[in-house]
């Protein structure tokens, strides 16, 4: 189920007489969750599309179908976090209470599990702590101390563009290594940070590497390594200008920081590359989450293309919070016209109510139509991306029961 298109495929000419309403193949979420070879599911998408809820719902459904799951969330809503018992940001997976077998389980596993009850852990990412741990693991204690106290490190580890993304991937790598050695989990579900660009986490390792490999950083390191003569006129000009603007202390702090970081750099890059390779491995599945809005779908499209370029295994698209399609064949225009007639004539005590209902219906039909067009366009531009549409619930989700409902909707099995 990858998004790779065969380059040699010849498309038939489609003339204007051929009706071509693109529909995407259905995404079989249960098949994905039940497949023992699926070891990692990464949910990505732009901010505000429901990634965290989707991740939690997938993890819960997988756990209640017999997988040993841990879900790594970034910034869950308070009540959702409470319901999963991860109010504290402590970077440690905590067991979630209240799980129960899905209907037909554990029998459906055919004795493949010895567990009496389904199990799932959840954890919330502590970005700075993860970064600190990486530094501590890579450097000698004195070096680590020097790095951790440097003002550049403090700023970098808490607000560097991409740090959160990078640390989410680092944590994923750690969980994966631990899970493989201890057999504690067989599925890791990862929620990605609400980035400005949904792609930041793919670029984060690269960006960190290129930062440390950059000419300026190399240049700052040069005096520490070689003869002072390397200080060219160019560097003099540059540091001169920087000192003028930023103050002399800035350059000194920066130099210390870069020199210290350089010693742990090899380890950093090796880990970043390992994680990147892990993301490309066949056991990984990417789910792109979007809302049925032009902006969110544009980001999703960009994401789908990027994943295929980077040969990351795309499982499909989740279109969240879709307007539930109404019943009946009354069109929006007919409904609005009837609503206006009722308001004008006002012949019965319930006329205003009925007019209101007709207007709601018209709004809903219009939204459903607009969303359908957006999805069709997406499918036309990205054929073959398996898709599941999850209708918006009338109420907010903040407990396991709500997550179960979302899980059923994701699996397309809600009645």
């Amino acid at each position: 189920m990858t998004a790779q298109r065969s380059p040699g495929r010849i498309h038939p000419r489609v003339g204007p007489l051929v009706a071509s309403s693109a529909t995407a193949p259905a995404l079989d979420v249960d098949a994905l969750l039940d497949n023992r070879r699926t070891g990692i599911i990464v949910c990505c998408g732009s901010g505000g599309v429901g990634k965290t809820t989707t991740s939690a719902a997938l993890a819960l459904r997988a756990a209640e179908r017999g997988r040993k799951v841990v879900v790594l969330t970034i910034d869950p809503a308070r009540r959702l976090a409470q319901s999963m018992g991860i109010e504290a940001l402590d970077n440690t997976p905590r067991p979630v209470d209240g799980l129960r077998w899905a209907p037909g389980y554990p029998d459906a596993l055919g004795g493949a599990t010895a567990d009496e009850a389904p199990r799932m852990d959840a954890m919330m990412l502590d970005m700075k702590r993860t970064f600190d741990e990486v530094v501590e693991a890579q450097a000698t204690p004195e070096k680590a101390k020097q790095i951790l106290e440097n003002p550049f490190y403090v700023a970098l580890s808490s607000s560097f563009a991409g740090t959160q993304e990078y640390m989410a991937m680092e944590k994923l790598g750690q969980l994966h290594r631990d899970a493989r050695s201890s057999g504690s989990y067989d599925l890791i579900v990862v929620d990605t940070p609400p980035s400005r660009s949904a792609l930041d986490f793919l670029d984060a390792p690269e960006r960190l590497s290129s930062f440390l490999d950059g000419r300026f950083v190399r240049m700052l390191l040069a005096p520490a390594r070689g003869p002072a003569r390397i200080m060219t006129a160019g560097l003099g000009l540059v540091t001169g200008a920087l000192s003028k603007i930023l103050g002399g202390q800035f350059i000194t702090d920066l130099q210390t920081f870069v020199a210290a970081l350089d010693t742990v750099f090899g380890g950093f890059r090796a880990r970043a590359q390992e994680t990147y390779a892990l993301l490309q491995a066949p056991g990984t599945a990417f789910l792109v989450v979007a809302a049925p809005e032009a902006d969110a779908l544009r980001e999703a499209a960009y994401f789908v293309e990027r994943l295929s370029e980077d040969r990351m295994p795309l499982a499909g698209l989740v279109v969240n919070r879709a307007s539930p399609s109404g019943q009946g064949s009354l069109s929006a225009d007919e409904a609005m016209a009837a609503s206006q007639r009722l308001r004008r004539d006002n012949t019965s005590p319930t006329a205003a109510l009925t007019a209101g209902l007709l207007r709601l219906h018209a709004d809903r039909v219009r939204m459903v139509e607009r969303e359908a067009v957006l999805r069709e366009r997406f499918a036309a531009a990205h054929p073959g991306v398996a898709t599941v549409v999850v209708p918006a619930l009338a109420s907010d989700v903040h407990d396991l029961a709500g997550l179960r409902v979302i899980g059923e909707l994701l699996a397309g099995s809600a009645g």
């Binding site: 901010g47 505000g48 599309v49 809503a77 009540r79 003002p151 550049f152 700023a155 970098l156 607000s159 560097f160 563009a161 400005r196 660009s197 300026f216 950083v217 160019g234 000009l237 540059v238 001169g240 200008a241 003028k244 603007i245 930023l246 103050g247 002399g248 202390q249 800035f250 702090d253 809302a291 809005e293 539930p324 109404g326 009946g328 009354l330 007919e334 009837a338 609503s339 007639r341 009722l342 004539d345 019965s348 319930t350 006329a351 205003a352 109510l353 009925t354 007019a355 209101g356 209902l357 007709l358 207007r359 219906h361 018209a362 709004d363 939204m367 607009r370 009338a394 109420s395 907010d396």
Partner: protein, 333 residues
């Protein structure tokens, strides 16, 4: 009369997915309604303004993108200009403007310092972005021939980052303790903390964005930054009465009476249609109850709130003007 007539810099923030950029654009159109000239800035490299106004991607230069909202009796509308601010261009412009760094500026670029300073050195990037916004609000003699604006609207980073973004002197504190850039940041803070700045929050009537808004307001207060209004976006129609909503929630609406009304209005009545309408009414009523609860939370925040309707057909250029009119009517502009 606008609630914010003294404000020169309108900062618009909000949680992802709440329509922050749409609101920023509508606010710019509304502010430009009575002959005022407005600058709409974006800083997140998304070219969202160009898409909303259906123009080519914006360069690092002020471009005229729209005429302000037309209103009755206010005289001719003003103009909305737009500016896409990126940190690299802002740094080079800053260096040229203040240091005449022709050669050194290019050297900085060649040695990757510009890239380093803008994408890596945290805080510096934000200072460069807010610095350009500051320059647009507080035009000085160094930028000869630049347009003087009556108001600047900033489509700012999301709620989770807004305090950090505006608190530039704090962000730099650990890094640049002295020097012109530190001084610059302090000057900018004076504007950002003054009543000439207002930070507006965009939310929808859902629990998480409202909670984030409340947290964001608290953080701004702590940082001494001026809180503006709350714009409640995508509000559902409110034409059902409380009594009817309650009945709809309990699935107790008068099915026969509704059927009769529909028939009277010339609609072909089927069971399926009536069932559908009643289902939709039920969902709507449940949603409305949640919305009303969140509306209460918002009214407890102690700042003015402005509601914008949900546009079922999506937001296009016409939609922006529609929302601008609603903001103007509500007194935000």
């Amino acid at each position: 009369m606008s609630d914010w007539s003294r404000v020169r810099l309108h900062v618009v923030t909000g949680k992802g997915g709440t329509g922050k950029s749409t609101v920023a654009a509508s606010l710019a159109l509304a502010l430009a309604s009575h002959g005022k000239n407005v600058l709409l800035c974006e800083v997140e490299g998304r070219q969202g303004i160009a898409r909303m106004f259906d123009v080519d991607p914006l360069p690092y230069a002020e471009r005229r993108i729209a005429t302000g909202l037309r209103t009755d009796g206010d005289g001719p509308p003003g103009v909305v200009n737009a500016l896409h601010i990126d940190a690299e261009s802002a740094l080079l412009e800053y260096l040229a403007m203040y240091y005449r760094l022709g050669r050194a500026g290019r050297a900085l670029d060649r040695f990757g310092v510009v890239e380093f300073a803008t994408t890596i050195a945290p805080g510096v990037r934000d200072v460069l972005l807010t610095g350009k916004v500051y320059e647009a609000v507080q035009r000085n003699s160094r930028n000869r021939g630049a347009i003087e604006y009556d108001a600047v609207v900033l489509d700012a980073p999301p709620t989770g980052r807004i305090t950090q973004f505006l608190h530039v002197s704090d962000e730099l504190a650990g890094l640049a303790k002295v020097g012109p850039i530190k001084h610059q940041a302090d000057t900018m803070m004076t504007l950002f903390r003054s009543p000439r700045t207002a930070v507006h929050f965009v939310t929808v009537l859902e629990e998480m964005p409202v909670q984030e808004t409340a947290d964001g307001i608290a953080h701004l207060h702590e940082a001494g930054l001026p809180v503006g209004g709350v714009v409640v976006n995508q509000v559902r129609p409110r034409d059902l009465r409380v009594k009817d909503l309650a009945a709809a929630r309990k699935s107790q609406l008068d099915r026969a009476a509704i059927g009769a009304d529909l028939a009277g209005a010339g609609v072909e009545v089927t069971d399926e249609l009536v069932d559908g309408l009643l289902d939709e009414a039920h969902d709507h009523a449940v949603r409305r109850a949640l919305e009303d609860a969140q509306r209460k939370v918002i009214s407890g925040l102690g700042v003015p709130a402005y509601e914008l309707p949900q546009l079922p057909q999506g937001v296009d250029l016409g939609g922006l003007y529609e929302l601008a009119a609603a903001l103007r009517e509500g007194g935000m502009a």
